[in-house]
């Protein structure tokens, strides 16, 4: 039995691309820093430690965490609630009652647009919730379904 609706596999690729871009920028900045550190003859040991930690961090962010998150990222709609699943290391399950939802919003960044994906954002009076990297059709359907359910729910 499928417990909840997962996001498509290519969402993971998008997350990896985005993380790779971020880390490329970080590495360029760090590289420039190292170059100047060499110029001012800073001892090598702390630089190596920093570089090593950064490398581990990059591998985690690009190689491991997107896959972990994809395995546990999605949503489920029941009669009165939206259930949201999110997590990499720590897994998070959220229940949002439909009558608490105040607005639903779709968002796309360039990476997501290219892969025809979208983020869905649910807002209650207290919090914001995200479902990241849904297929655009799926996202629009979800939005319409939510709005329809909301209307029914408010009439009760």
């Amino acid at each position: 039995m499928k417990e909840f609706e997962k996001v498509p596999y290519r969402a993971m690729t998008v997350w990896k691309q985005r993380a790779a871009l971020m880390h490329a920028i970080i590495w360029i900045v760090v590289g420039v820093g190292f170059f100047y550190a060499q110029h001012y003859s800073v001892p090598l040991l702390p630089l190596t430690i920093i570089g090593g930690l950064l490398l581990i961090w990059s591998i985690l962010q690009i190689g491991i965490l997107p896959r972990l998150r994809w395995r546990f990222h999605g949503y489920r709609i029941t009669e009165q609630d939206v259930w949201l699943y999110d997590g990499g290391w720590s897994q998070e399950i959220t229940v949002v009652p439909l009558f608490r939802v105040q607005h639903v919003q779709l968002g796309q960044d360039p990476f997501l647009r290219r892969a025809n994906l979208a983020n869905v954002e649910l807002e209650t009076a207290a919090t914001k919730h995200h479902i990241r990297g849904l297929d655009l059709h799926q996202a629009e359907e979800l939005r319409d379904l939510l709005l329809q359910r909301l209307k029914e729910e408010k009439h009760v």
Partner: protein
């Protein structure tokens, strides 16, 4: 634009407040000038300062000229803005909280500052009318006569509250941090037989003295803010007034309260007191926290009667269920690991070695207390969590106020069967939640399903 302007006193007072906000850079630049010893540089600074004051005065004057207001039975109108003109209209029915304050200068001139909150969240007040005549404000607010049964503070309680207030602790922590950064005893500890050096003991004595002095000052400041605290209930409206120098009167609708938090600082626990705070839809308390103080101090045995009189929506948790024994020790290990990690970051400092064992013991003790006190309580109408960091707290959230429930599980938690449960409700702090860790996963699931059953039920009062 509209009929009324604020009192012109707002112009110098506004300028003074802006200057006070920039006091550090000003002092710094004067200090720099003094150090160089050049007469010219000092004079230049003085000239710049006077120019700055003039500019501020002109700016405040323009602000004062452009700010006009008016109100009638239904709405309040405000026009403001020097460059961008803004017109604000707030319907009176949308106002959820009113906050009046006046410092002695304003009292002398019969003036008052009104802060009006609407249900829109966030920390800042939505409408601020400063330096308006007192009689206008009173006429508009239709002040009721004081009711008989009111909560009041005695002098002894006031000082206990000052001494145990969270604001006091924050101030002390900041000073200890600053001191140990700028006047650190590192060079003394690196010597052989460091305990024989007088300097170190002097340093410790100095630190103790500075901390206790600060504690006294901070307690007095907090005590002056809460001087003459009264809380009255008039049908659905709670009125809080407090303050020695700046007298504030806040009016809150009781239905606006989203959750209650009972806090018990160790010092308060010693004398059998509890303080009660409330989360509102939008907060305006001045002590830097996002919840408002409802009762600064209450005797534990009186708690129930006061709370049921003032906020009948809330009942006290009756049957607390503690964590199962096998999870009670989990916070100890977590605290030890976190402290160890933090100390590893300072491995090259000489004091690390001497401080490690006591710090880890303290962390373990706090973890033990947290595991021991952590408990939950569920009724058809409420969810209540109790736990302890330094102070013991209990959060009571009505089912009908919950916005969403989150459950977190870490890999260890999944293996051993515990999770963290967070209950979100509306608060002045966006994203605030009451959290309880190391709850057995089946219990967390039961809390969620109970919530799904009872979320539309409200208690009968």
């Amino acid at each position: 634009m509209y009929n009324y302007r604020r009192h012109p006193l707002v112009i110098p007072m506004g300028a003074i407040r802006s200057l006070w906000a920039a006091i550090l850079p000003i002092l710094f630049s004067f200090g720099q000038a003094m150090r160089k010893g050049g007469e010219f540089s000092f004079l230049t600074n003085f000239g710049i300062l006077i120019g700055l004051i003039l500019l501020l005065l002109i700016f405040e004057f323009l602000k004062w000229r452009s700010f006009t207001y008016e109100w009638n039975d239904k709405e309040i109108h405000i026009a403001s803005g020097i460059w961008t003109k803004t017109k604000t209209t707030v319907p009176r029915s949308a106002i959820t909280a009113v906050d009046r304050s006046a410092n002695p200068i304003m009292k002398l001139c019969g003036l008052v500052t009104l802060k009006l909150e609407t249900a829109a969240g966030g920390k800042e007040a939505d409408v601020v009318l400063s330096y308006i005549p007192n009689h206008l404000a009173e006429e508009w607010l239709e002040e009721e006569q004081h009711s008989q049964a009111a909560y009041r503070f005695t002098g002894k309680q006031l000082f206990l509250y000052g001494a145990s207030s969270p604001a006091t602790l924050v101030a002390m922590g900041a000073v200890i941090g600053l001191l140990s950064d700028f006047l650190s005893p590192d060079h003394l500890l690196e010597k052989k037989e460091w305990w024989k050096h007088q300097g170190l003991w002097l340093w410790i004595a100095g630190l103790t003295g500075a901390v206790s002095l600060l504690w006294i000052i901070a307690s007095l400041v907090v005590a002056s803010k809460y001087y003459g605290f009264t809380l009255e209930r008039n049908e659905g409206v709670l009125t809080i007034s407090k303050g020695l120098w700046n007298r504030r009167t806040m009016r809150i609708r009781a239905e606006q309260i989203q959750s209650l938090v009972l806090m018990q600082h160790p010092l308060q626990a010693l004398f059998g007191y509890v303080s009660v705070r409330a989360h509102l839809t939008s907060s305006s308390d001045e002590d830097g926290s996002f919840d408002n103080v409802l009762f600064p101090l209450l005797k534990k045995r009186d708690l129930k009667s006061w709370i049921t009189y003032y906020t009948p929506e809330y009942t006290l948790p009756l049957g607390k269920t503690p964590l199962p024994r096998k999870f009670q020790r989990a916070p100890i290990w977590r605290n030890i690991i976190i402290t160890g990690w933090t100390l590893l970051l300072f491995f090259w400092k000489a004091w690390t070695l001497w401080i490690t064992i006591p710090l880890i013991l303290i962390a373990a003790g706090l973890g033990y207390l947290q595991g021991k006190t952590a408990a939950w309580d569920l009724t058809d109408y409420h969810i209540a969590f109790t736990s302890q960091r330094l102070a013991k707290w209990t959060a009571i959230i009505p089912m009908s106020r919950v916005q969403c429930i989150k459950t977190y599980t870490t890999p260890f938690g999944r293996q051993r069967g515990y999770s963290t449960i967070a209950i979100h409700h509306i608060s002045g702090f966006i994203g605030h939640a009451a959290e309880l860790s190391y709850v057995p996963t089946p219990v967390a699931k039961r809390i969620v399903s109970l919530y799904q059953l009872n979320r539309r039920k409200k208690g009968i009062f």
